[in-house]
Symmetry: C2
Subunit: 217 residues, 2 copies
DNA sequence: CAGTTTACTGAGCATCCGTTCAATGAAACG
DNA sequence: CGTTTCATTGAACGGATGCTCAGTAAACTG
């Protein structure tokens, strides 16, 4: 697991830090939060026991670094998905849904770690902040696109806030399925369910397969 | 916290067991799963250290008993809400929403405990079973009512499965808000959001305040 | 090529955790 | 009322955990 070519010192340093964070993710995902100890993490990373304290000062700070990395990776991923997509709100909303189930960010392992932190969020304020930021900005972006689709597409009586919240919550519940019962989870089925939801709200722009017509009247 | 009138032996026994479970809930909610130790729990319950092992054999079994009680309390609550409600599906669905935000089951403390168990679910199979059963039967019941409303109310093109999932997920995300940012949470606002969602799907039967007309054409 | 810096090791330490168990006293029983 | 049953206590134990620190070797520096 830990292959460390003898290169420059900073590269080794960064590599080791990353190995430790990855080992932490692996450990939390497979053993759980409570069973994740520094000994197991360092063994997984292939380094000695005391290294965590050297690099991260304390176990708690290693955990925070892990959560922050996960959070930033996720945010960066859907931000880039937005940049790559067409500029019309229909394509952008579809891109958000697609990116949320991409194997890069939507892994059973990562979802499990995310829920593990969420479970401890109540009692550790630092986690709460990161967890709140997680999808707060995400649902803001979704709501903007949903509002634009409603206005440009000529839909009346759409409750933007509710639609955005429901879509975000739907995605979340599908993630949870991946964690709790991965056998019944399917990436395509999950995306289809999101698009079926959107088809119910914007029938001229979406169907269960995704974008129907990004410029429909 | 532990007031034990000297009554019969079984009553004392049950009372102590309940005190321990309550103390476990309090501890998980305020200190988190990781920081919940038998010493803290027994101190909170006002009994001696070794009593947990006497009553529950092990810490793990105390945790399972706690989760099961929470789960059963919740299920019993919305089942009774269904019984007390009118028999038409519109009233029943409204009763489910109402009961889900009732102060008896929807407390910040209880939600926090629920998420704490969910966070450890991945690595402990027993939790997974309970967590899965939790809203599995709940969403089945919701889906039946939604289907009935669509058929009786003359709505076409309703995707029952998606509507039920989205509503369940919406409720879940509102619960999470209660845990993470209780200041911005409001019981009435949460119910209103659910009803706003239902108003979007069944505009002749719901508005943001709840049931509009349970017998609308 | 000395000398300095620094990532890294691993044994050691203080602490805490879950569990055990002999002792205790009050309810249950006949 | 004497005996049994059992909820309860609290000290004790083995083990694990997070963290410290003196020591080491390899990368940097000039």
């Amino acid at each position: 697991m830990a292959t460390k070519p003898a290169t420059t010192r900073v590269k080794r340093r960064d590599r080791t830090r990353q190995d430790l964070i990855n080992a932490t993710i692996d450990s939390i995902a497979s053993q759980g939060f409570a069973e994740t100890t520094l000994e197991k993490v360092s063994k997984r990373a292939g380094v000695s026991r005391g290294l965590v304290n050297f690099h991260f000062v304390s176990k708690e700070k290693l955990l925070i670094a892990t959560l922050e990395q996960l959070s930033e990776e996720y945010a960066a991923f859907w931000n880039r998905a937005l940049e790559k997509a067409d500029q019309d709100p229909v394509s952008q909303l579809a891109a958000l849904v697609e990116s949320d189930f991409h194997p890069r960010v939507c892994t059973r392992k990562k979802v499990a770690v995310w829920y593990a932190f969420l479970g401890e969020a109540r009692s550790r304020p630092t986690y709460t902040v990161v967890c709140n930021g997680w999808d707060r900005s995400f649902s803001t972006v979704m709501e903007e696109r949903i509002k634009a689709i409603a206005e440009l597409g000529g839909y009346t009586g759409i409750d933007y806030e509710v639609v955005a919240r429901a879509l975000g919550a739907l995605i979340d519940s599908l993630w949870r399925d991946l964690m709790l019962s991965p056998k019944s989870f399917s990436r395509e089925g999950s995306k289809a369910m999101c698009f079926r939801y959107l088809a119910g709200v914007f029938p001229r722009h979406f169907d269960s397969e995704g974008v129907l017509d990004s410029n429909a009247a």
